[in-house]
C-alpha cells in the first residue's frame, strides 16, 4: 500500500468529483457543494482540486482519502463512518499526527541501517535496526490514540486540531521488546526514573532545538511492555507512521510513541524539550501548560459508537449498534449501550477476537427501533472496575477526552 503513487490518489479523488461520483458525493461537504449535475468531468476535476479540498500530503498520498478527514498536512483522522468491524485498523485508514514533518523518505532506503543510540544503561551503545532484529521479537496489538482525540467536544474551543473520534486506531506492532534490549546492555543505569525517546525529524537551523525537538519522557516502568518496532500490521512501518523504527509504549497516548526514534535514553529528568515541558500537560482552563501540570501519558477507559449511522436518519426496524471500547492500561471487560442518552442501559456483546489488554474490543447490540429521536451512547468498564467517565476532564489544551456523554450520536428513526 505504501507504494501507491500520489498520482493514483489524485485520480481517485477526481473520480469522486466526476459525473458518476457527484450523486454519491452528496453530503461530503465541499465536494458536493461544488459539484453540478451534468458538469463535464474535466471541469469537476479542476474544481475538486481547488484549495478548499485539502489534499493528502505526499508522505501519506497512499492513504484512502475517502475514509479520512484531512485537517492539515500533518493532522489527518479517520471518518467515524469509515471504521470497520475487523478490530485492526487498516494502514490506509489510520490517522496521522506529526508535530514536525517527517524526515526525508530516503531514511527508508536501507531500513536495517537506521541507528538508535541506547543510553542510560550499564553498557550504552548504538544499534542498527538490523542488529535489533537479532535481539528479540514480539507483536503487540494496541490502541494508538492521539492525546487530543475528542478535542472538538470541548466547549471552550481549545486551539489545535478539533479531532472527532478518528484520531485513533487499533494496530499491530512488531519489534524487539525494550526490556530485551536493556537486558542485553546490562540493565537500566541507577537513578533513571524516565525513559526518553528522541525523534529523528530534520530540524531547521536558527531555532533552539528544544523548541522543535520531538522528544518525550515516560516513566521507566513503561519499558516493561514497550517495543522498538519496525513493522505495523505486518508491513514495514511507513514514513507516515514512524518508519524505519518507532518507540511503542502501549497504553500511552500517541505522542509518547516516538517516530523515527534515533535515541532511547534512561534519564534522571524528563527531557527539557518544549513538547514535554509546556505541551501535552493537563492545565486548568484559562492557564498555560507548564511542567507543574500532569503530563499526558496513560489513556483512560473509553468507548464510542460508530454506527449503524452517524448523526443521520435510519429506517424503523432492526439495527445493530456497533462500536469500539478499550481500557487504556487494562483490558476492557464490559460495554453498555443506551439509546436514550444514558437514562437506561443494556449490555453490548464483544464481537471478534480478543487481541490483548492494549487492543480495543469491538462491540455490538441488536435493537429494534420505532420512529422517533434517539441519542446513542456507550459506556465501557475495564478489568479493574474503572468506568468510562460521563463528563470530560476539562483542561486548557483539550487532551484525553473520554466522556461517554460527549461521544454520543443523535439518530432519527423515520416513520
Amino acid at each position: 500500500m505504501q507504494d501507491e503513487s500520489p498520482l493514483l490518489n489524485v485520480q481517485r479523488r477526481r473520480l469522486l468529483a466526476s459525473s458518476a461520483g457527484v450523486v454519491a458525493a452528496v453530503g461530503l461537504g465541499s465536494h458536493a457543494r461544488m459539484s453540478v449535475a451534468g458538469e463535464a468531468p474535466a471541469v469537476a476535476a479542476a474544481v475538486a482540486a481547488a484549495p478548499t479540498v485539502k489534499p493528502l500530503p505526499a508522505y501519506a498520498a497512499w492513504k484512502n482519502a475517502d475514509d479520512l478527514i484531512i485537517h492539515s498536512a500533518n493532522t489527518i483522522e479517520t471518518k467515524r463512518t469509515a471504521f470497520g468491524d475487523g478490530v485492526i485498523t487498516p494502514a490506509n485508514q489510520l490517522y496521522v499526527r506529526n508535530n514536525v514533518p517527517p524526515p526525508n523518505p530516503s531514511v527508508l532506503d536501507d531500513r536495517d541501517a537506521w541507528k538508535v543510540s541506547v543510553e542510560g544503561v550499564k553498557s550504552p551503545r548504538t544499534l542498527t535496526v538490523g542488529e535489533l532484529k537479532t535481539m528479540g521479537l514480539q507483536t503487540t496489538a494496541m490502541v494508538l490514540q492521539c492525546s487530543g482525540n475528542g478535542r472538538k467536544f470541548f466547549e471552550h474551543k481549545p486551539s489545535g486540531t478539533p479531532w472527532d473520534v478518528g484520531a485513533a486506531g487499533c494496530v499491530m506492532w512488531s519489534g524487539v521488546p525494550v526490556r530485551d534490549v536493556v537486558d542485553a546492555l546490562g540493565g537500566v543505569a541507577d537513578n533513571a526514573p524516565y525513559m526518553t525517546g528522541t525523534g529523528g525529524e530534520t530540524l531547521p537551523a536558527g531555532i533552539d532545538p528544544n523548541t522543535l525537538l520531538v522528544e518525550r519522557s515516560v516513566p521507566t516502568e513503561a519499558m516493561q511492555d514497550a517495543l522498538l518496532a519496525w513493522e505495523m500490521n505486518g508491513e514495514p512501518i511507513s514514513l507516515a507512521h514512524g518508519g524505519p523504527l518507532r518507540l511503542i509504549v502501549p497504553g500511552y497516548s500517541g505522542v509518547n510513541n516516538v517516530k523515527y526514534i534515533k535515541r532511547l535514553a534512561f534519564t534522571k529528568e524528563q527531557t527539557p524539550a518544549m513538547i514535554q515541558q509546556a505541551r501535552y500537560r493537563l492545565a486548568p482552563l484559562g492557564t498555560k501548560e507548564t511542567a507543574e501540570n500532569p503530563a499526558v501519558w496513560k489513556m483512560d477507559v473509553k468507548s464510542w459508537i460508530n454506527g449503524p449511522a452517524s448523526g443521520s436518519t435510519v429506517a424503523a426496524g432492526n439495527h445493530v449498534i456497533r462500536g469500539v471500547a478499550f481500557g487504556g492500561m487494562d483490558a476492557v471487560k464490559r460495554v453498555e449501550v443506551s439509546t436514550d442518552g444514558g437514562k437506561t442501559w443494556k449490555d453490548a456483546t464483544f464481537i471478534g477476537p480478543d487481541l490483548g489488554k492494549y487492543a480495543w474490543r469491538q462491540f455490538a447490540l441488536s435493537v429494534k427501533l420505532a420512529p422517533g429521536d434517539y441519542r446513542f451512547v456507550s459506556r465501557a468498564t475495564d478489568a479493574q472496575g474503572n468506568v468510562q467517565v460521563e463528563q470530560r476532564v476539562e483542561n486548557a489544551a483539550g487532551y484525553l477526552n473520554s466522556s461517554w456523554r460527549d461521544h454520543g450520536l443523535d439518530i432519527k428513526v423515520a416513520a
Binding site: 531547521p204 523548541t211 522543535l212
Partner: protein, 107 residues
C-alpha cells in the same frame, strides 16, 4: 469654482496617498516582523509567499489562511511545537496578525 475644485482635487489626492502609504507601511512592518523581528522568525517554520518564506515545519499560512484573531491567539499562547511569542509587544502582535491575515494567498 475653479480654485475650490482644485483644492478638492488636491485634497482627494492627498487622501488617496495617505490611504496608499498607510497599509503599505503596515505590510512592510508585518513582513519585517515575520522574517526578522519575531524570534524565532516565523519564516523559519512557515511558508508565506508574500514574505518570501518557505519554512516547512508548521502549516503553510497560504494554505491555512488564518484570520487575524487566530494568528493573535497562537502568537500569545503558542500551539504544538510553536512557542508563545512573549517578547513581542501587543502592537507588534496586532501588526503581525493583521499582516498574515491580509496577505495569506487567496484572501
Amino acid at each position: 469654482m475653479k480654485p475650490s475644485w482644485a483644492i478638492a482635487a488636491a485634497g482627494c489626492l492627498l487622501a488617496w496617498q495617505a490611504h496608499a502609504t498607510g497599509p503599505a507601511a503596515d505590510l512592510e512592518a508585518g513582513r519585517t516582523l515575520f522574517n526578522n523581528t519575531a524570534t524565532p522568525a516565523c519564516a523559519i517554520c512557515h511558508t508565506l509567499k508574500d514574505a518570501g518564506a518557505e519554512g516547512a515545519i508548521g502549516p503553510s499560512l497560504d494554505a491555512l489562511k488564518p484570520d487575524a484573531a487566530r494568528v493573535r491567539t497562537v502568537l500569545k499562547t503558542g500551539l504544538g511545537v510553536m512557542p508563545a511569542y512573549e517578547a513581542l509587544t501587543a502592537e507588534q502582535i496586532e501588526t503581525l496578525a493583521n499582516y498574515v491575515a491580509r496577505v495569506a494567498e487567496g484572501h
